[in-house]
């Protein structure tokens, strides 16, 4: 844990130093440590209980790409439920019409 805290503080310091590099015209996202840590960490072991591919803060938090998939999992589930309701409605319509025709109640 001590190592993680040290590493975190280094990241912050690097961020400040990176700001100075802007004068050199370098794009920030290529040199930003926070972003690169997210990209590079998946294959690295940091020890101290930090999970692979996770954010550099906290453990057990999925990485950014997994969170994007989670968003679409929720949206997909909602669309899936609405689709199931739609299919049920169509089957119900069919059943009602066939039933009324067979029993000759109307039409």
């Amino acid at each position: 844990m001590l190592w993680n805290t040290f590493f975190d503080r280094c990241n912050r310091t690097r961020t400040i130093l990176i700001a100075n590099s802007l004068e050199a015209g370098l794009p920030v996202y290529l040199i930003s440590n926070s972003y690169n840590n997210k990209m590079d960490m998946s294959g690295m072991s940091m020890g101290g209980g930090m999970s692979m591919g996770s954010m550099d803060m906290g453990s057990g938090v999925p990485n950014l790409f997994v969170l994007q998939k989670m968003f679409w999992a929720v949206v997909g589930a909602a669309i899936g439920c609405a689709t199931a309701v739609n299919v049920c409605n169509k089957l119900l319509c069919r059943q009602r019409l066939v039933s009324s025709h067979c029993t000759g109640i109307t039409g």
């Binding site: 400040i16 954010m55 550099d56 803060m57 968003f71 689709t83 319509c93 025709h101 109307t106 039409g107």
Partner: protein
């Protein structure tokens, strides 16, 4: 259990609050269903943006910046999926694109919130070192991101109702242009790993546009219709006839596409109104063999159609027109989707003013299904086709501005009643009740705020004796007989113009119970120094109605008064709650309420359905059957 859940979800989804604002019109909140969906999206986005992070910790602000950026860019495809006319989500869930447009707007607002948080945390992080302006001036990524944010702010701002409705054509053009700019800025702002989230919406837009273009070509070019006799390259030819001083009837004699009742198409005639395409409901049914549109003249393209029709001066006739009078039109569609009404035991159709163009085809389609099902079992029917109709009772209510408006569809209504009478004579248990309400109440017949004010009398003071009213009811004095009025009353002094078109009497009394009306005066109105009274007439034969107006279509021969005795024409406005309750009380299965009209009428009907569903405890052990609601409001 499923029925109970469905009933509870329907009640909750359609419920809304009415918040009075003194003398101003009351504000009706969005439905609980819509608000819940938006709230759910908000919660999901916020959880994904902040889970496992600590916003108060300044050393995590960069992490939040990255996180919110990733969550923001993954929302882009959803916005486009909800916007397209060939809507994948709409196809899956059984909802048409225009019903999803509100969700498209709110998803975009959620995106704006997310990117604002994204930008905010980055700015907060740099602000500590006084670095915001340095970044904005020197860093290309920051510049592109900020540009994207500014464009998105404009997109969301310009899509708000007052601006959107001010000039819709301008709104659409600038919306597409700014969206392209927004996507370009976002693409340049994002790192390579997440650029796929920009490619997906681009592909979806291209797919939608390609499908639409192919559909337009296949629909309108003659070579794709080999079975039909086509004289020219362009398959869609229409005639334009003036129906009344405000309405044009557009008829396509040989429609190049198939549609179902209640659907609409995008129609354009570039020789009359260049570069404009408008959605119009098809006012005829496929068995008519032609597509008819009744287009209300407002500003822009619809006004041009009317002017052209008046200039041409073609007589209104059912016979096919000379081809010289045909104009090439482009139709795209059909669009629009709802549950088939013929499956419901009881159907109530409520229309306000030009909403009749939506409900009349639905009515005729249900009756047509009843007749086709009557022809006996067909062994060729497969699971794909739906034979006959399960409908037993139809209640048709149309609120019109004047009797002239009723004459748009008088012949079709008479025919519908004749068909039902014929079915009854054959021993089928079907019933059709029709009521036409003539009123000038804006809540029930207004089509837009730009409608010209009523001409005729000026405003004057009236003392009103009234009944149960809806929140915006301004009743007219009735000294003689309260037979049509309930026992509850309140006296109000108010000023309101209350004359109908051309200074005719205009009644805004709410008619609580049609059956209670006799020959007593339902309302009284004043026109200058003249006092006239309007009697709630019942019943009136369609012969009287048609003969009192200029005959616009050939009268149907050979019908008896008995066939049409279930039609009622009344002066005043309906009480949707009473009408719906009566229908629900006699229903043996699930009922459907379809309402199409101005927002006031639609809101009234929606609130009535919700409160009746709760009052009757539908599917909660009382035996009351379900009620499905489909609402179409005049909106864009």
């Amino acid at each position: 259990m499923m029925a109970t859940s469905a009933a509870i979800i329907r009640e909750a989804s359609n419920a809304s609050l009415t918040i009075p604002f003194g003398n101003s019109p009351a504000w009706v909140t969005p439905t609980v269903g819509r608000m819940s969906l938006v709230l759910a999206e908000f919660v999901v986005v916020m959880v994904l943006c902040f889970y496992g992070l600590h916003p108060s910790d300044q050393w995590e602000w960069e992490d939040i910046g990255y996180r919110t950026g990733f969550i923001a860019c993954c929302q882009l495809p959803l916005i486009v999926l909800l916007a397209g006319k060939n809507n994948i989500i709409g196809f899956l869930v059984g909802v048409s694109y225009e019903k999803l447009n509100w969700l498209h707007r709110w998803t975009a607002r959620m995106l704006l919130l997310t990117v604002t948080i994204h930008m905010g945390y980055w700015f907060a992080d740099w602000y500590r070192y006084d670095y915001i302006t340095v970044k904005l001036k020197t860093d290309a990524i920051t510049q592109r991101g900020f540009a994207a944010w500014v464009i998105l702010v404009w997109i969301v701002f310009s899509s708000m109702a007052p601006i959107r409705r001010w000039n819709y054509e301008f709104f659409v053009v600038q919306h597409i242009i700014t969206y392209v700019g927004f996507l370009a800025a976002v693409y340049l702002h994002l790192p390579a790993e997440v650029k796929v989230w920009v490619w997906i919406p681009i592909v979806l837009v291209i797919l939608d546009r390609t499908l639409r273009s192919l559909s337009v070509v296949c629909t309108n070019v003659s070579i794709f219709h080999p079975t039909a006799r086509r004289r020219s390259f362009w398959a869609s030819k229409a005639t334009f006839e003036p129906l009344d001083p405000e309405t044009t009837r557009i008829t396509i004699a040989s429609p190049p596409l198939r549609w179902t009742a209640g659907q609409h198409v995008l129609l354009s005639c570039h020789t009359i109104a260049p570069l404009q395409s408008h959605p119009f409901t098809v006012a005829s049914i496929p068995s008519d063999g032609k597509m008819v549109f009744l287009v209300k003249s407002k500003a822009g393209g619809t006004k041009r159609y009317l002017r052209y029709a008046e200039k041409l001066g073609l007589p209104l006739t059912e016979t096919p027109m000379d081809h010289r009078h045909h104009r090439a039109v482009t139709i795209e569609g059909p669009y629009g989707r709802m549950r088939p009404l013929k499956q419901f035991d009881s159907v109530m159709l409520i229309a306000g003013s030009s909403g009749g163009t939506f409900t009349i085809p639905l009515l005729r389609d249900v009756i047509q299904s009843m007749k086709s099902g009557n022809s006996g079992p067909n062994p060729r029917w497969s699971w794909m086709t739906n034979p006959g109709a399960a409908t037993r009772y139809i209640r048709f209510v149309w609120v019109v501005k004047s009797r002239a408006q009723y004459s748009w569809f008088s012949a079709q209504l008479v025919e519908a009643m004749q068909d039902v009478a014929q079915l009854r004579r054959q021993g089928h248990d079907v019933e059709l009740e029709t009521s036409i309400y003539v009123t000038c109440d804006e809540d029930f017949i207004a089509t837009s705020k730009n409608d010209p004010p009523q001409v005729g009398c000026g405003s004057r003071e009236l003392s009103a004796l009234k009944p149960v009213v809806s929140q915006d009811e301004k009743p007219i004095k009735d000294d003689t007989s309260p037979s049509s009025i309930s026992s509850k009353s309140s006296i109000e002094q108010f000023k309101k113009p209350s004359c109908g078109p051309n200074g005719t009497c205009c009644c805004q009394t709410t008619i609580e119970d049609e059956d209670a009306i006799t020959n007593a005066t339902a309302c009284e109105c004043h026109c200058g120094s003249d006092v006239s009274s309007e009697t709630a007439e019942k019943p009136v034969t369609p012969q009287d109605s048609i003969s009192s107006d200029q005959p616009l279509t050939p009268a149907k021969p050979e019908y008896t008064a008995a066939d049409t005795e279930s039609m009622t024409m009344l002066s005043g406005r309906p009480q949707p709650r009473t009408l719906i309750r009566k229908m629900l009380e006699q229903a043996l299965g699930e009922s459907a309420v379809v309402v199409c009209g101005p927002k006031g009428l639609v809101t009234n009907a929606r609130q009535s359905v919700v409160s009746l569903s709760d009052e009757r405890a539908i599917h909660k052990g009382t035996g009351a059957q379900g009620c499905y609601l489909h609402a179409e409001a005049f909106d864009y």
